[in-house]
């Protein structure tokens, strides 16, 4: 050991760029294993010059691996630190490296899913979609750039964090910050999901209910024949005061439901979907069934 081999910033950036292709060869046998090895190749080339060492490193990193594709970044960082030490002669068993990978991927996946898939993407997606549905190009641009800036920054900084912290990261991970982020994301996510359910799940019944006979004084009595100025003033005042123009108030089923709280049926439908999903009904089946229900309801004039 004459000189310590270290990974330069450029090497780490190469790994960072390649880590975006982690899932490219996702397979049913060892899942992200080949993508993982692919990401580490620039580091392996730099750290090991002998062909046998390179082969050993590749084989070591072709073991099973699977986690959320973004939180793989801190694990890559830690692995880079470990490989660097190993290349410089420190005794690190292959099993130890694999152990760190497996040990980190489970808990970290538990953070990646709620934060990225259930909070950031639905919020950015809903924001972009509500702008886009009026044909506003800002919608897609906001979604695309917002998402990718957040994502690429997250990948780079957590990989660097993992690289600097090395195996020490396991101590930080049990600390409060990650737990707070996960919980905060869940709270925000649930809040926003409820907003989206209320605003975007649309169920409109087109059924008319029998009209309601209004009591005297709740509707405007129009005088016969010519209407004088003062009379008109009185009528307009009554109308602005909220009195009904007709003696019988038309009632729709939807109006009645809305007077409870708008969006109630959408909420109930969401609960039904949740229940069906818990009963292991596939989402595709539910989606197709809902289209069939929609067509049938339209055919019979219910919705």
């Amino acid at each position: 050991m004459t000189e310590k081999i270290t990974l330069s910033k450029a090497d780490r950036q190469k790994v960072w760029w390649r880590s975006q292709f982690l899932q490219g060869s996702w397979n049913y046998e060892r899942m992200q294993n080949l993508g993982w090895a692919y990401a580490l190749i620039p580091a392996i080339k730099k750290l090991y010059t002998k062909k046998e060492d390179q082969a050993a490193a590749l084989e070591r990193h072709l073991e099973f691996f699977n986690t959320h594709p973004y939180v793989a970044a801190p694990i890559i960082g830690v692995t880079l630190a470990l490989e660097e030490e190993k290349a410089n002669g420190t005794e690190i068993e292959d099993a130890a490296i694999q152990g760190v990978k497996i040990g980190m991927m489970g808990p970290l996946a538990g953070i990646g899913d709620p934060v990225f898939w259930f909070t950031v993407r639905p919020i950015l997606g809903a924001l972009g979609a509500s702008l886009a549905s009026t044909g506003n190009i800002v919608g897609p641009l906001l979604f695309f750039f917002g998402w990718n800036i957040i994502r690429m920054a997250f990948l780079w900084y957590t990989q660097e964090f993992g690289y600097r912290a090395g195996s020490e990261i396991t101590k930080d991970m049990s600390g409060g910050i990650l737990k707070d982020i996960t919980k905060g994301a869940s709270i925000l996510g649930m809040f926003i999901l409820a907003v989206l359910v209320e605003r975007w799940v649309s169920i409109n019944f087109t059924i008319d209910l029998p009209g309601k006979q209004l009591s005297e004084g709740a509707y405007i009595v129009f005088p016969e024949g010519q209407v004088t100025g003062p009379e008109l003033k009185g009528i307009l005042g009554d109308a602005l005061g909220g009195m009904s123009l007709d003696q019988i108030q038309a009632q729709t089923l939807q109006g009645q439901l809305n007077s409870l709280i708008p969006g109630l049926m959408g909420l109930l439908l969401t609960f039904l979907c949740m229940w069906l999903l818990k009963k292991k009904v596939s989402p595709i089946t539910i989606i197709i069934a809902l289209f069939i229900v929609g067509i049938a309801a339209r055919f019979f004039g219910i919705m």
């Binding site: 969006g263 959408g266 929609g294």
Partner: protein
């Protein structure tokens, strides 16, 4: 409006290829409807229409995410196919959007089967990579990985090319013959299927601790006219307030997350 020119068609296939790559990578999000439909609208010269379709389809696909064993419908093929049908149909009204969206759903299922096939083929590619690794042949390992990735791109590009080959007049003919109750019914269904994606996400996140925030969100959305940004700000504020208060409350936050919170439990065990 009418048939798509050769140059546009080639560009649509390129967009489809990227959507296919992203369908598995899940990084740049080219497979999300709001991006894919916009790009297809752009290369066929119907940008505004593409943006609108993307927005509508994004609402449905909002909660589609592959988590563990739960497999979500394939957003990549759904967005690309819906956009091609939409552009070829030439009806850029709300009816056209709803019909294209409804037609996309069966294709989202087809896309699932295609990705399953590619993921199985990838097993063989991984074994090739194993052998190459034993010999220290780095280039061959990289080739195996990239080949699997290209297959994922073709998974969407090939069906897109096939859809493009159908003449626009045929697509329009089918769409015009569609009776009102069918297209109207698809619109009704389209309003409802949004719930499925939300239900998937809620099932993953819901714990006894966070349900009250769902109730708050629902009522805020129902009784106010606040925009999404306004409501999002309220949500962020509530999350911060809760986190800080539960820390100040001493034993409040520490133990409350014990039983009902699976993520907390994982971290605790770790």
């Amino acid at each position: 409006m009418s048939d798509i020119s050769i140059i546009s068609a080639v560009l649509v296939v390129v967009v489809a290829f990227f959507a296919g790559l992203e369908g598995i990578l899940d990084q740049f999000q080219f497979h999300q409807p709001i991006v894919a439909c916009t790009l297809i609208g752009l290369v066929t010269g119907n940008l505004a229409a593409g943006v609108m379709l993307g927005g509508a389809l994004q609402m449905i696909a909002l909660g589609w995410a592959n988590i563990g064993a739960a497999v979500a419908p394939d957003a990549a093929l759904a967005s690309v196919a819906a956009a091609i049908i939409f552009i070829k149909g030439g009806d850029f009204s709300n009816v056209g959007i709803n019909v294209a969206t409804a037609a996309a759903i069966p294709l989202a299922v087809a896309g699932l089967f295609l990705t399953m096939i590619v993921r199985t083929v990838s097993v063989a590619l991984v074994h090739t990579a194993d052998n190459a690794a034993k010999e220290g042949n780095i280039a061959a390992v990289e080739r195996a990985h990239l080949f699997a990735l290209v297959l994922q791109g073709l998974r969407i590009a090939v069906p897109a090319a096939m859809l493009l080959a159908i003449p626009a007049s045929a697509v329009q003919g089918v769409l015009e013959k569609m009776p009102d109750w069918l297209s109207g019914g698809m619109a009704v269904g389209g309003g409802m299927v949004v719930a499925v994606g939300y239900a998937m996400v809620i099932n993953m996140m819901a714990t006894r601790e966070v349900w009250p925030f769902f109730a708050l969100g629902f009522v805020f959305a129902a009784v106010t006219d606040f925009t999404l940004i306004g409501l999002g700000t309220i949500g962020v504020a509530i999350a911060f307030i809760y986190l800080n208060l539960s820390k100040q409350g001493g034993n409040g936050g520490g133990t409350a997350s014990g039983s009902g919170d699976p993520i907390g439990d994982i971290l605790e065990d770790y």
